[in-house]
Amino acid sequence: MSDQDISKEEIEAVFPKAAEIIADALGCDEDEVQLTSSLIDDLDAESIDFLDIVFRLEREFKVKIPRGKIVEDARGDLSEAEFEQGGIVTDAGRANLKSFLSEVPEDRFSNPMKSADIAKLFTTETFCKMVVRLQKEG
């Protein structure tokens, strides 16, 4: 499912609850959680927080979020070897990431990019889009 299938209105419909969930999980004020907020760089999220946020999003929106869902969707038709090599995202992998994470500013995609750093790109909007996609997939 491409971004063309997700409207701004659909994202904004999910955002208030997603922001509340992220704020609760991270112990910050809700007004600190913007659509553009990077969960790691702006909101200090750690790995346990990602598990917590996914857990809460699943309960709230009645969706099942498989482990690594965002990266798997971003990889698209590329094989794992075509997406990353030796812990570094390939050029083709970066292109797919940029296309999939269209909400993330271009300058945040470092080159070279370590696959371990992909999660630093994720914003509140990234999670909102994931919820909308999963809701549509039923």
Partner: protein, 280 residues
């Protein structure tokens, strides 16, 4: 005598098991100890769920304390009572175990856990996989030797008066003991202060703050009812110094919520919200 499976193990026998799905068991609180805290009751249920999760993945990984969405304290327990443990596992794989469950005594509910999540870590780094498998076989069979737990003392915290505001917040310092029997059991290859003992310390600090707040003008005391949003971010090794903070979050005549936080070296270490009720 080794304290492995003695000093901090709270499942005597597994009575039914579908590994990774559901599990029931029992634990008898030894008669010779002073008390068995509600935090340890929660620990026993968590350990039951952990056994089921570990069995499913052949003891290659083990869960550690991570998140508890809700813990309802319905009643306290007494030495000599048998805890009836029942856990349901929503997810159980090499990444994490997600579970909830109940503890009853004589059929009466004592404690409920909801929306708990334990991230998995490599078993080899924490314990001997073969010893764990052998222990699981024992508690699934004839059961473990009961009554070996010798109790755990309360570990004191030191209130920091000039960072505390009476009736609003308390700041305190807490030093994890350098040595204790339970470190040999939690965990043999990587001793860390148990998350539930940290929770117990936070509970006592919250109760200290609650005592400074009159509940709605009535004589009834505040009692811990429900703990939510428990999160443990980091391990706490022996000898570590932690900064504790309790702060009133919300208050009505009959309900009080205190937000708890611990920090290690200035970094967030754990957090929780503790809900009190009065007049009930």
């Amino acid at each position: 005598m080794s304290e492995h499976f003695r000093a901090f193990s709270f499942v005597d026998r597994i009575t039914s098991a579908q590994p990774g799905a559901s599990v029931t068991g029992v634990y008898t609180i030894p008669t010779g100890i002073d008390r068995f805290s509600n935090s340890l009751v929660a620990e026993s249920l968590g350990q039951l769920a952990a056994w089921s999760a570990m069995a499913k993945i052949d003891f290659r990984f083990r869960p550690v304390a991570g998140i508890a969405g809700g813990v309802d304290f319905l009643s306290s327990v007494e030495p000599g009572q048998q805890l009836e443990l029942a856990a349901q596992l929503e997810q159980s794989d090499e990444e994490a175990v997600r579970y909830g469950g109940t503890v009853t005594v004589g059929g009466q509910e004592i404690l409920r856990l909801e929306d708990c999540l334990g991230p998995m870590v490599s078993m080899e780094d924490y314990d001997d996989p073969l010893a764990m498998r052998k222990r699981y076989d024992l508690i699934c069979g004839e059961g473990a030797e009961p009554g070996v737990f010798e109790g755990i003392p309360d570990f004191p915290f030191t209130r920091i008066e000039d960072e505390s505001v009476p009736g609003q917040s308390i700041a305190a310092a807490f030093t994890v003991p350098e040595s204790a029997l339970f470190f040999a059991d939690h965990f043999p290859r990587n001793p860390v202060f148990p998350g539930t003992l940290l929770m117990d310390t936070k509970l006592r600090l919250a109760e200290t703050l609650a005592m400074e707040i009159p509940p709605g003008g009535k004589d009834a005391d505040w009692k811990v009812a429900r703990i939510t949003d428990v999160k443990i971010r980091d391990f706490t090794p022996p000898g570590e110094m932690l900064a504790l903070r309790a702060k009133v979050d919300e208050k009505t005549e009959t309900a009080l919520t205190i937000r708890m936080e611990t920090r290690k070296g200035g970094q967030r270490n754990s957090s929780a919200k503790i809900g009190f009720r009065s007049g009930e």
